[in-house]
């Protein structure tokens, strides 16, 4: 019971963070909310796996990222059967809407794995270690992905140091 109360508090306080990271990945408000809800349900059903309350942050982020990837993978599968061009047009519309909210469209255009790393590391101010536990990949991989992502952004002319 105690654990649950902590989890609920944590989720309410950080719901905007979860929402925005989902939104960056899926470009669609309704989908973003669905992902956060889904991750929440999963968190409650798997709460017995959370042994250490200090680790709640990385534990929940891991669930959330999984849900995001599941969602985007599903979309890829849908593309196989539906008309390609129609879907693409809709996607572009969505990106335009998001232009108003953020300057981060360049980040949205990055390949998904780079995008996640950049969002967690720079936008959510996490350490390399935290990112590596969330994504369950070695710290060195996180570092190399960050480097590559920054290189791509630099080529776009966004970094002129």
């Amino acid at each position: 019971m105690d654990k649950k109360a902590v989890l609920i508090d944590y989720l309410i306080n950080n719901k905007d963070k979860f929402y925005r990271i989902a939104l960056m990945h899926v470009h669609n408000e309704a989908d973003a909310y669905d992902i956060v809800s889904e991750a929440t349900v999963k968190a409650f059903t798997k709460i017995y796996l959370l042994r250490n309350l200090d680790a709640i942050n990385s534990w929940f982020y891991r669930i959330l990222i999984r849900c995001i990837y599941d969602n985007t993978n599903q979309k890829k599968r849908i593309y196989l059967f539906e008309d390609h061009e129609e879907e693409n047009i809709e996607d572009k519309k969505d990106i335009k809407i998001n232009d108003q909210i953020a300057l981060s469209t360049e980040i949205q255009k990055l390949p998904q794995k780079y995008q996640t790393v950049i969002l967690l590391k720079y936008y959510e101010n996490m350490t390399f270690e935290e990112v590596s536990t969330i994504l369950k990949i070695p710290e060195s991989t996180v570092k190399s992905r960050t480097k590559k992502a920054l290189e791509i952004l630099r080529k776009e002319g966004l970094f002129n140091e």
Binding site: Y19, E29, L103, Y123
Partner: protein
């Protein structure tokens, strides 16, 4: 970090969950705590029930040991005593045979169980004979061994009613050769005395008239309502009911009279059943 990066980071951190979603989300979170508990209790109860039901049916020892616990006595009274598959050169049979248990009077228990065993043995003997004859005639008419399909037989039981005084059940034999050889034998026992209950003991001396009246009434009703039903009206109108008429008692305490196949209706009607109400 440069200007672009800081700007985009700032605007990113301003993104908030839209108000409508935020409200919905918080409601959802709070409703979640309340819903968890009943679900878990349900799961627990269900798994206990599952273990209990499985245990009683699968293991006679479990059923027996349960009956030693006071309070659960009346619950368990039938169990599958014998479940076996007979497979030899010319026949194939699956047998599920019941035994009654937990009757205070042990001699009654043995008596009923003996009757069950005897009935099943007779059924099996008849079936063996039939299987042999079928195989012989198959070969005599030029059938080849590799084309021969064994008759498959299934013996099973159904319990219709059970309490501390009365049990009502049937034993059924069905096989794949021809449905005319299928049989269903009904048993009703008084557990206290061990005597078989016959229809005249329940309905009184007038049993023949009561059943006849009720059957004719229901047949006419059914014929009016459903065009697909057919009865041999001659046989229905000239019904002869003997005290050993087969019947069972259903879970609503009603008498259900069962006629054998072809007795009053064509084969596709199966075993016609009529509920006789006891109120009269």
């Amino acid at each position: 970090m440069n200007k672009w990066f800081n700007q985009s980071k700032e605007s990113y951190q301003k993104i908030k969950m839209p108000e409508e979603y935020a409200v919905k989300y918080e409601q959802f979170l709070h409703s979640n705590i309340k819903r968890q508990y009943p679900k878990q209790i349900f799961k627990l109860v269900f798994s206990f029930l599952l273990v209990f039901v499985l245990g009683v049916n699968v293991s006679p020892t479990f059923a027996k040991s349960l009956s030693n616990v006071p309070g659960i006595n009346a619950l368990v009274e039938f169990f599958t005593f014998r479940s076996e598959v007979i497979d030899n050169d010319y026949s194939h049979a699956i047998i599920n045979s019941p035994h009654i248990d937990n009757i205070n009077n042990k001699s009654v228990e043995t008596k009923i169980n003996n009757i069950i065993d005897q009935t099943i043995d007779t059924m099996l003997k008849e079936q063996k004979q039939l299987d042999k004859e079928y195989e012989e005639s198959f070969k005599a008419t030029g059938g080849k061994q590799e084309d021969y399909n064994k008759i498959e037989t299934m013996i099973d039981y159904h319990i219709h009613f059970i309490n501390n005084k009365i049990v009502s059940f049937d034993l059924e034999k069905s096989q794949t050769l021809a449905s005319a050889y299928n049989e269903r034998v009904y048993f009703n026992f008084n557990i206290d005395t061990g005597k078989e209950i016959t229809i005249d003991k329940i309905l009184g001396k007038n049993f023949e008239a009561i059943i006849k009246e009720e059957v004719i009434k229901q047949v006419n009703e059914q014929l009016e309502q459903d065009l697909n039903k057919t009865y041999f009206m001659d046989n229905v109108n000239n019904l002869k009911i003997t005290p050993d008429q087969s019947f069972y008692i259903n879970e609503n305490n009603q008498i259900v009279v069962v006629f054998s196949k072809y007795e009053i209706a064509p084969g596709y009607m199966g075993l016609p059943e009529f509920i006789i109400s006891l109120e009269k």
